[in-house]
């Protein structure tokens, strides 16, 4: 199978009447990469996928696949295969006919198709199931058939539109691993659309986080989580405690002191993407992950410490989720590994929290992800 065909979006705008679905998207997807678009529903990620697959043309800008401009080329003329959210298997065709439909289109003989179907069925671990109808398969099996059908066309780029969303949790987690394995085996570029950050972070080489038609950040999963570029990314991916304030100072290492509205001056690292344009005096937001908070050994004050009272806590087995209230009613959440200190998390207990300033991130003030 071919590999290493990249996809580029250059200044892509997509409008529907007055509505801007995608605003100035610039994306460089390397060949053989597992690339995800992550964002809440309605953020334009499916629209981007349709522009890559050829079901719609961008209003402005170019889509390049393997360096070739795809303008004016329909979905059947592009080296892409799309897996639909609802899979769109053909219900009246047998599994082997479904899988080899792209060969039937090209006029391959039934014997050839049958042979290829058997190979692909072996690959997706469904040997001998070719004569069944889609309705006779389970959700996960249908999922794999959809993948096989898309791969049968030997595309350079596989596009997946939230294909796991219809599956139950266990199967979804299992299919993540499986998808990743298949991608590595066939070595072609996967572009994956999802609103599930777990899927995006576990499977992808790179993730683009989208909000209302705008791509906020493109980076690997770890950077998205640990070094978010915007307030939206910080609040959409994972859980976060947000502190609003103004920047008091920034040192040469990129460490800033933020004068927060309710919690006093706190030290944190300026996000890599924001380093060039955040200045002293700017409105900023500081984010600390629940798991980055810990209980300080003493009650001294510092700009990496926060005083708060326990409101209530949840026991999750391996960890406690402790919900706290700081000064002026500031709500916070702390996640602590279960080390048998349950009495510390009882309601009313006053705690001094501390954190590693390298694990706290400062970004420009901006829109947050709605819950």
């Amino acid at each position: 199978m071919s590999s290493g065909v990249g996809v580029d979006l250059q200044d892509v705008w997509i409008r529907f009447g007055d509505f801007v679905a995608v605003r100035e998207a610039n994306v460089n997807i390397k060949g053989g990469e597992f690339f995800s678009f992550l964002g809440p529903s309605g953020c334009g990620k499916t629209t981007i996928l349709r522009a890559v697959s050829g079901f719609l043309e961008p209003s402005e800008g170019n889509v390049l696949i393997g360096g070739n401009n795809m303008a004016g080329k329909g979905p059947n003329e592009r080296p892409t295969a799309l897996i639909f959210q609802n899979l769109a298997l053909f219900p009246l065709m047998k599994i082997w006919e479904n899988i080899t439909f792209s060969m039937e289109v090209r006029g391959a003989s039934a014997a050839e198709r049958r042979k290829r179907a058997d190979e692909l069925l072996d690959m997706i671990a469904l040997p001998g199931q070719g004569d069944k109808l889609p309705s006779e398969l389970s959700g996960g099996q249908k999922q794999r058939v959809a993948i096989a059908r898309a791969l049968c066309a030997e595309p350079d780029v596989l596009l997946l539109d939230e294909p796991l969303s219809a599956l139950d949790l266990k199967l979804r987690q299992h299919m993540r691993t499986e998808l990743r394995e298949i991608q590595q085996r066939v070595g072609i570029t996967f572009i994956y659309i999802t609103h599930d950050q777990g899927e995006a972070l576990t499977m992808s080489d790179s993730v683009a986080v989208m909000k209302a038609g705008v791509i906020d950040q493109i980076a690997d999963g770890k950077s998205i989580y640990d070094d978010p570029a915007t307030a939206f990314v910080a609040s959409f991916v994972g859980e976060n405690n947000m502190f609003r304030g103004k920047i008091k100072s920034i040192d040469k290492d990129g460490m800033a002191i933020v004068d927060t509205n309710r919690t006093g001056a706190l030290l944190a690292r300026v996000s890599t993407d924001a380093a060039s344009h955040l200045k002293v005096g700017d409105d900023a937001m500081m984010f600390i992950r629940p798991e980055a908070l810990d209980i300080a050994p003493d009650t001294k004050s510092a700009n990496t410490r926060i005083k708060a009272d326990v409101r209530h806590s949840e026991f999750e087995g391996q960890s406690y989720n402790v919900f706290l209230e700081g000064s002026e009613g500031k709500e916070m959440k702390m996640a602590l590994t279960n080390r048998g200190k349950a009495r510390l998390y009882e309601p009313g207990v006053s705690l001094t929290l501390e954190y590693d300033p390298l694990q706290a991130v400062v970004v420009p003030a901006g829109e947050l992800a709605s819950e």
């Binding site: 079901f55 329909g74 639909f84 609802n86 769109a88 053909f90 066309a153």
Partner: protein, 304 residues
Amino acid sequence: MMKEYFRKNGNVMGWGLMLLVGFWVIMLIILPQAYMFELSFHPHLPPPEMGGPNDYYTLENYKHLVFGAQGNEDGYNKVDLMVFIRTLIAAACVTVFDLILCYPIAYFLGQTKGGGFVRILVLLLIIPYWINEILRAFAFRIIFGESGVINEFLLLFSIIDDPIDFIRANIALYAGLGYAYILLMIFPMYNVIESLDRNQIEAARDMGAPWWMIHKRIVIPYAKPGISSGCTMVFMLSAGALAAPQILGGPSSLWFTQLVYQWFNQGGNWPQAASYAIVLLAACLIIVLTVMRLFKVNMGDIGK
């Protein structure tokens, strides 16, 4: 199942519904048809003699369709048989014509998003059917008449030199019959195609399928129940139509239903008429069932 039915509807309502349905099926459908069936095996007698000593069971009426009146020298009742066969063939042609005409319309209606526009189109299709059948047939007579709209139009632009006799050529009849049952063809197909997942069409396009292949492999197999139910209705109804052939038929061509009508009405020979009607019904059923077998359609699909 019965328990469930009574629990849901209550005893009074449950029995009431069953009685109504029973009355409808038995009194309005089965009994009259059974009476006709029985009648078709009797000789033509004046009413006082019916059931009397001169009454007996006979196949005479059926023989009449095939061999003609007793003492017929020809051997076969060529006139009636020709009418019978021509009616069936013409009804089949009308069905195929309607299918070809209505499939694209049903596909367009079923797959177009944006309900308002589609609803207006559907309304435009329905409204002409508020006009009664006879009026519509006469309207077609006017359109296709010798000095009708079509002839005038063709003459005006000198496409033809003399008016075409659409009535004599039966074109008016086929057009009228085709038009009369268009809705019965469109709606079953529209209903099915509307429920077809658009993603399947897009998936096929994505895999490079040209439009005709998408229809052949995806849309038509999916729409098969709708197509067969539409075709069945159009075929049955056009084979059994009376008004359109009476009004639009050419002077030399008879529709089989007109023969039935003549036996009932002018001839007053009810047993003979009943036998003709039953032959027509049986022939239609056999044809429909054979075609369904040929295209592998189940009876249950038609109800969909």
